[in-house]
Symmetry: C2
Subunit: 269 residues, 2 copies
């Protein structure tokens, strides 16, 4: 099946019902002037419906990336094929490449102090290491997260590198940044995480920060903010931060510049 046929198959099996989200005409004030949408004739409607179903899943994904969605547990059922196509086709790869390009441009533009306190923070999962082999077996985010099964996967230590992140990592390292790895993984996974990172090609980080027992009750946003606060207290200047979750990037002691890697498969508050 060629790619265009695949798109049409995808679109044709996406029910449209999920998108009727209570859109009613607003109770506007008298004389209000409103953006006019283009008129459409009935003959166009069916094809628009297919196009719209695809657009709605893109719209959902853009909302994820712009941090507009409330905490969400699983991907919308009607976007299951869309997300799979995105993750395994060119979409994910193009987005990763773009973030890599932008981060590299920024990294090269920074004047480093050179005192060993110029820091770039990297998250681990879906930032340096890819759990795509795991998520491919679990619906690309369609299944509820199962920490037991996911831990079993983590403990294999076989997560591959995200190629563009490995390139950025090497570039940032070469420029003289100190690399801080800040992950939501538990301290008890330190050994296997180090092993996996080395196997995937990462090296020479300054610190690998994992959740200790006192961090386990915190949201990722709070835990990572606390860790950034400590880094600032130690004299680090956080100049760059790469993460696939907004909870990697927002909060206190935010980086001078943050880079949001794509991830439509799961959300961590």
């Amino acid at each position: 099946m060629n790619p265009l046929e695949r798109i049409f198959l995808l679109l044709s099996i996406l029910p449209f019902a999920c998108f009727s989200q209570g859109i009613s005409h607003p109770d506007t004030f008298p004389g209000a002037i409103i953006v006019q949408l283009p008129e459409r004739n009935v003959a166009q409607l069916k094809k628009l419906t297919l196009e719209e179903a695809h657009l709605q899943c893109t719209s959902w994904r853009v909302a994820v990336e712009a941090n507009n969605l409330s905490p969400w547990k699983i991907i919308p059922e009607d976007c299951a094929d869309y997300v799979k196509e995105y993750m395994t086709g060119n979409g994910y790869e193009f987005d990763l490449q773009r973030v890599y390009n932008e981060a590299g441009i920024y990294a090269r533009s920074v004047n480093l102090n050179g005192d060993g306190k110029d820091a770039w923070i990297f998250d681990v999962d879906e930032t340096l290491l890819s759990n795509l082999p795991y998520y491919a077996e679990h619906g690309y985010g369609l299944e509820m997260f199962n920490s037991t099964k996911f831990d079993q996967w983590v403990e294999t230590g076989t997560a591959p590198a995200i190629e563009s992140s490995l390139k950025l990592y090497e570039e940032v390292l070469g420029l003289g940044f100190k690399i801080i790895l800040l992950t939501g993984r538990s301290e008890r996974h330190r050994g296997i995480t180090v092993e996996n990172l080395l196997r995937a090609g990462f090296r020479e980080w300054d610190k690998l920060l994992l959740r200790s027992s006192e961090d386990h009750g915190k949201t990722a946003t709070l835990y990572k903010s606390d860790k950034r606060n400590e880094l600032i207290e130690e004299g680090y200047r956080i100049l760059g931060n790469s993460g696939d979750q907004w909870s990697d990037l927002l909060g206190s002691s935010m980086s001078k510049r943050s880079f949001k890697l794509p991830n439509p498969m799961y959300y961590i508050p």
Copy 2:
């Protein structure tokens, strides 16, 4: 021309050259394990190229919405038709509707104190009012910004309401939030801005904050942060913030929850 024909026309006239952004194979470490991309045969390549051109413009737009792009002046020339199609087709409307839905869910979930200090901030341009009639005449972001021409448009006072924002505005007002309008427009445009807002159906705001002479040297991020700091000092709790630029949302005294409205046409630092 039906919508699918339009897509193919769009794709067929998008040159691919712009997307070769120096993608070279990384100098990976020995033994590194890397995500494997699916293999493709030569027969698929041409169609993938058309698909890829469209995907690259979507990727650019996602990067804009995720705040990953360095300051940018104009939209990529090769995405000119894509952005026009997005702004005038269903894409922009779907994205606006989704932000409206999410903001409404959040607004209804907030427990208000009711002392008149529960605040929701709205930006004006491309948030409450649409300048699409102006940008339609100026390449949807393809032309360099011309402040003289744009001011002439502003002074007509005819910018229409963004329908979903008017609905959210009314809902937020009805829930008991105090509405603060915080805009990068100049104080000298206060009169025409009030006139335009009323004409478009907006009413009963608590404050309309515009740039005074002392604010003109500041970035939007700094100017808006300073204004939010002042609001906090006055006792307001900033519970919601709607804006089409990240400079509306990031900085100090950030809102408890922010909503990024779509805007691929221009960037304000």
